[in-house]
């Protein structure tokens, strides 16, 4: 049965027992970009029992430089990442149960998904989502593995509710950092370093070898040859609004039904409504204005200097502006 995992079973800290554990576990990966692709592929190759993926985006040409599950054909077909990822992952290992959602990860969308999750891997690309996740994981008592990267640098830290400091303890407030992959770039090895550390800690948790856990925060810079392990035990705060004695979970506020968000560094605005879009009806309306590209999950149209991508779940990306007002105007002209 376990022939395909023989090299991992030979590794003593895993062994037959560890493999039996891995096969019973359910992991949620939030985001199917660079970190999500890498971690998902590792866990699927390792024989994880069940994997749930959630991502709001579709595959674009500039993703291919570092997002290991995707090909030129995915770009051409404008496939949502969560679905393109699932297809490739099942070709790699048909034994793993994979569930994928083309959705924004919000507290509303995650609540129904996380009920039997053993572990969450953070593969998001922004701190707003991470702080929401931090609250949600503390509330539900689920361990999660923070990871982020940009340029040739990255960091990772494993958060156990009730045991370790949480992200709020470590960072105080949501950082206002201009450094995203879309503003200062990234090289693929920085991704893999974070992935390697996230997957290792995930395997330790899945095989229940908790005394091997790293416990320190790592931060590295591959181009400048730095690697540091930081002891952050002291960061735990008893009055933390997320993991302290009287938590208020400040990042779990209700989301309003329509919300706009500037996607940092991408010259793109996301508009989210609570109602699903009927893409067929929209297609027949829009193709009078300009040629549309259309598949089961999304519809894209070039309009003036903008490109709009409408998703079935009610979201629209307006590429070509970082002005919310401008994006709303264009959106209303086409889909209003």
């Amino acid at each position: 049965m376990f022939d395909r995992y023989s090299r991992q079973i030979l590794f003593k800290p895993i062994g037959e027992n560890g493999q039996q554990n891995i096969v019973l576990k359910h992991v949620l990966i939030i985001g199917c970009g660079a970190l999500g692709s890498g971690n998902a592929e590792n866990l699927v190759r390792a024989g994880i029992g069940k994997l749930t993926l959630i991502d709001r985006d579709y595959v674009e040409l500039s993703n291919l430089q570092r997002q290991q599950l995707y090909t030129e054909k995915n770009v051409h077909d404008q496939i949502p990442k969560a679905l393109a990822a699932k297809t490739r992952l099942q070709e790699i290992n048909s034994e793993v149960e994979i569930e994928s959602f083309v959705l924004d990860a919000t507290s509303n969308t995650l609540y129904p998904i996380i009920k039997d999750i053993d572990l969450v891997i953070d593969a998001t690309d922004n701190f707003e989502t991470r702080f929401m996740l931090n609250d949600l994981m503390q509330k539900q008592g689920i361990p999660w593995i923070f990871g982020s990267c940009v340029g040739s640098t990255g960091m990772s830290y494993t958060i156990f509710p009730g045991k370790t400091p949480c992200l709020q303890c470590l960072l105080g407030t949501i950082p206002v950092s201009g450094a995203t992959c879309d503003s200062v770039g990234i090289i693929s090895p920085a991704v893999q370093m974070v992935v390697a550390h996230q997957t290792t800690e995930a395997l330790k948790i899945l095989v229940e070898d908790t005394k091997a856990l790293r416990t320190k925060l790592i931060t590295f810079d591959l181009w400048n040859n730095h690697y540091h392990l930081i002891n952050v035990n002291r960061a735990k705060k008893t009055d933390c609004p997320t993991c302290g004695k009287t938590p208020s979970y400040p990042n779990l506020n209700d989301e309003s039904s329509t919300k706009t968000e500037v996607l940092c560094g991408r010259n793109t605005v996301q508009i989210r409504t609570s109602k699903k879009l009927n893409l067929d009806i929209l297609a027949s309306r829009l193709q009078k204005i300009a040629p549309v590209k259309h598949n089961d999950f999304l519809l894209s149209i070039e309009y003036e200097s903008y490109r709009l991508v409408f998703f079935r779940d009610g979201r629209t990306l307006v590429h070509g502006t970082d002005s919310v007002e401008k994006a709303k105007t264009i959106y209303n002209q086409l889909a209003g």
Partner: protein, 77 residues
């Protein structure tokens, strides 16, 4: 002397990845002030600080021979 390590965009701003500060001891909050004044490193608010690979706060004091690292959180993924 105190050794200061800088990461990510702090590095880029300064043009190098480390600095030596001539002093016997200094509070982290004062060290940040000093670096903001001398090197225009305004990005030092909201970065994580470590003294000799241990998490530190603005109130901690760093002494000659110590290494301070300023680690800005990065958000990509």
């Amino acid at each position: 002397m105190i050794k200061v390590l800088l990461f990510a965009h702090l590095q880029e701003k300064l043009g190098k990845d480390q600095l030596d500060i001539e002093t016997n001891q200094i509070k982290i909050s004062e060290l940040k002030h000093k670096l903001k004044d001398q090197y225009y490193l305004n990005e030092l608010d909201g970065v994580m600080t470590a003294i000799n690979e241990e998490y530190a706060t603005d109130e901690d004091v760093v002494k000659s021979g110590d290494t301070v690292a300023f680690i800005p959180p990065v958000s990509g993924g």
